[in-house]
């Protein structure tokens, strides 16, 4: 067999994706797949050694991402990816710890952990696939569901004010925030790369279609139609005020990099305070002493 033929057997992302677990469970034209592909490319682009990357997820469609990446990957409980990732990061600061989470997992049941991780500026990269609905459990309303979308628990239209996750996290203190749709493949990959390289709490929101539930219940066509709609109706505004980027039902979506600021991480603050108070007595301890560089030192 020629070298050229061998190469065709290999997918370029085989090194990052767990091909022995394919086919995946996601519906056709769901947006999660493209987001995962962007992530895989971004990881490669950062040149962070793959052995040093850990992915943590909770429950839901996006929660299954951990199972498809060929990295140390932890599929935990509903909403709890962030505290698990926090422990992982603090135990081994050399790791690049990434949380993959859906909007419900992250901002409803996991909402308390989300705001506190951002407040602490915990050195994590959080990727949120926001499809405005609970997919895994059959299309219920989420804290992000816009008025007056139809879901299985708002059969007459959603009426609660939804979260604008960008505004929420900006107020809490995240270091980096961006939003794209799942069809902005190149820009999404760029933002993920930046987020992965940014010390502190970085947050990338990917607006994605739920083809089977959100699109169908709201008669929005196929998943691909909806993905295209989001893309075509987005308006790039880098540096937009996060307070102004609410998302309304089937309206234009403001995308771009909203926040990129320098704030010390939890570990840096912890070390600085103990150095100030204890001086030489403070014993900075990386629980795992693997000889690698400490990424946030």
């Amino acid at each position: 067999m020629s070298d050229a033929m061998k190469r065709t057997d290999q997918h370029p992302l085989d090194d990052i994706l767990r091909s022995d677990r394919l086919p995946h469970i996601w519906c056709a034209t769901c947006g999660i797949g493209t987001v995962v592909k962007c992530f895989a490319e971004a990881i490669q682009r950062t040149e962070i050694p793959l052995d040093d990357v850990a992915v943590v997820s909770g429950i839901g469609c996006t929660g299954r991402v951990a199972g498809y990446v060929k990295l140390d990957s932890y599929h935990t409980t509903h909403g709890r990816a962030i505290p698990f990732a926090t422990g992982l990061k603090l135990a081994n600061p050399r790791l690049k710890v990434v949380v993959f989470s859906g909007d419900g997992d992250l901002s409803a049941i996991g909402g308390n952990h989300l705001i506190h991780a951002a407040r602490r500026n915990m050195d994590l990269t959080v990727i949120c696939v926001n499809n405005f609905i609970y997919g895994m459990t059959g299309g219920q309303a989420a804290p992000t569901t816009p008025n007056t979308a139809n879901t299985s628990t708002t059969p007459f239209g959603a009426f609660e004010p939804p979260f604008n996750l960008q505004k929420l996290l900006e107020a809490c203190g995240a270091s980096y925030q961006a939003r794209w749709t799942s069809l902005h493949v190149r820009r999404l990959t760029n933002s993920m790369t930046e987020a992965l390289l940014k010390p502190g709490f970085s947050f990338v929101e990917a607006i994605a279609p739920c083809s089977t539930l959100y699109a169908r219940r709201n008669r929005l066509g196929s998943g691909f139609d909806l993905m295209k709609f989001y893309h075509d109706n987005s308006e790039i505004q880098h540096g937009a005020d996060p307070r102004e980027v609410d998302i309304s039902f089937q309206d234009s979506i403001i995308v771009g990099k909203f926040i990129d600021r320098e704030r010390p991480t939890w570990q840096q603050l912890n070390d600085a305070q103990h150095n100030r108070s204890l001086g030489e007595k403070y014993f900075r301890h990386d629980i795992v002493e693997a000889g690698g560089e400490v990424s946030d030192a």
């Binding site: 850990a54 935990t76 698990f84 926090t86 992982l88 081994n92 204890l278 007595k281 629980i287």
Partner: protein
């Protein structure tokens, strides 16, 4: 087994309360990560840890709640730490979700519960022993845990070391169930030299990269671990999983997994269980107790022995797994078990189950907020002996 690190061991004689002794036990055992949330009457454990750890090496983080605390502990363990969390009743309830995850992922960790009166907010500053069933059954599904109950600050120190060693040996959550009385009682605690303290190292896989399977089982039903960042690039999940760690929605895989999660403890129960017995020869009555109640009952045992009743004492240092074999043996020989506890009947139900009608079981309840009047226990022993 390895020896403790002398830097972490406060060798000498100290006058400590049970909570602080717990901290020293954890430090001696090598605990280098605590995530916790303040709750009476357990907070002294993390207060001391947060003061001690910066000069020793390790991390304390105060999380946003108890759910986050136990979950951060699990993450830290998979990142390479020896970790624990500390709480009391209401926080223990919140932790149950991820105690289940700890059991499912087979994560070695320690949970200290300084028990207060419940249900709900109950009696925050006062004693209870009413979480012992919750320790065993609190999370959903079938699994086994280990739970220990110290009766003094000294024993809080030593059982913390046992707890970490058991967690590493069997890869599961181990609970140290202090009660408020023991947590807040100050006594002499003798901390030995580090070289006299045995520490069980983590079972780390020696497999080459690419060969490691997270749940591949050796002879003793306990898999070896790999931490994040070691190059194995493995996957684990709270879903029912096969030996690769991959989800497997399959009754057969589930059967195999659940049996193993339980049997790795059940089949080793004799090795795990620690009991403190006296006066069993020819005993007609056996008093079964744990924690503070074993100390309160001591006067009753002495009084009734002096009155000619043959009373044996069986103190549970290990609450779970339950010593069903030992109690079964005794049930064939004695007339009755007397079980005082600071609740409305929990361990007494287990005793009754194990006695299986061959001996009477007499519960002596106290609802909490204080301990029994020893006279009440004395009367119960007299009653049982009639």
């Amino acid at each position: 087994m390895e020896k403790a690190d002398s830097k972490r061991v406060l060798t000498g004689s100290h006058y400590l309360d049970g909570d602080h002794a717990c901290t020293e036990g954890a430090l001696a055992a090598g605990c280098n990560f605590i995530a916790g949330y303040p709750i009476t009457p357990s907070t002294e454990v993390v207060e001391r840890y947060s003061r001690r750890i910066p000069a020793i090496g390790g991390t304390f983080i105060q999380m946003e709640d108890e759910i986050a605390s136990i979950t951060a502990v699990l993450g830290a363990v998979w990142g390479g730490a020896k970790a624990m969390t500390v709480t009391s009743g209401p926080g223990f309830s919140l932790m149950m979700e991820n105690i289940g995850l700890a059991a499912m992922l087979e994560t070695p960790c320690v949970i200290v519960n300084v028990m207060r009166g419940g249900p709900s907010t109950g009696l925050p500053t006062m004693v209870g022993q009413a979480d012992v069933m919750q320790a065993r059954w609190g999370s959903h599904g079938d699994y086994e845990i280990i739970a220990l109950a110290p009766q003094s600050p000294q024993e809080a120190f030593t059982l913390m070391i046992d707890a970490f060693n058991l967690a590493e040996r069997y890869r599961l959550p181990v609970m140290v169930m202090l009660d408020e009385c023991i947590g807040h009682m100050t006594e002499k605690v003798v901390i030995p030299e580090a070289c006299e303290i045995e520490i069980r190292p983590r079972r780390i896989s020696t497999k080459e990269k690419g060969e490691y399977l997270p749940y591949e089982i050796g002879a003793d039903m306990v898999p070896d671990m790999a931490h994040a960042g070691e190059g194995h690039r493995y996957h684990i999940t709270g879903l029912t999983h096969d030996e690769r760690g991959y989800p497997a929605m399959d009754a057969e895989v589930h059967d195999k997994l659940v049996r193993r999660l339980c049997d790795k403890v059940r089949e080793q129960a004799d090795d795990i269980i620690m009991l403190d017995e006296d006066g069993m020869d020819g005993a007609e009555i056996v008093l079964i107790s744990y924690g503070i109640t074993s100390r309160v009952a001591r006067a009753s045992i002495e009084a009734t022995r002096a009155a000619g009743i043959k009373v044996g004492s069986l103190r549970l240092q290990t609450l779970w797994p339950f010593p069903e074999k030992r109690i079964g043996e005794l049930a064939g020989k004695v007339k009755a078990f007397v079980v005082p506890e600071v609740n409305y009947g929990q361990i007494s139900l287990e005793v009754e189950r194990c006695a299986a009608g061959r001996a009477q079981t007499l519960l002596v309840p106290h609802m909490g907020g204080g301990v029994h009047d020893p006279a009440v226990i004395t009367r119960a022993i007299e009653e049982a002996a009639k």
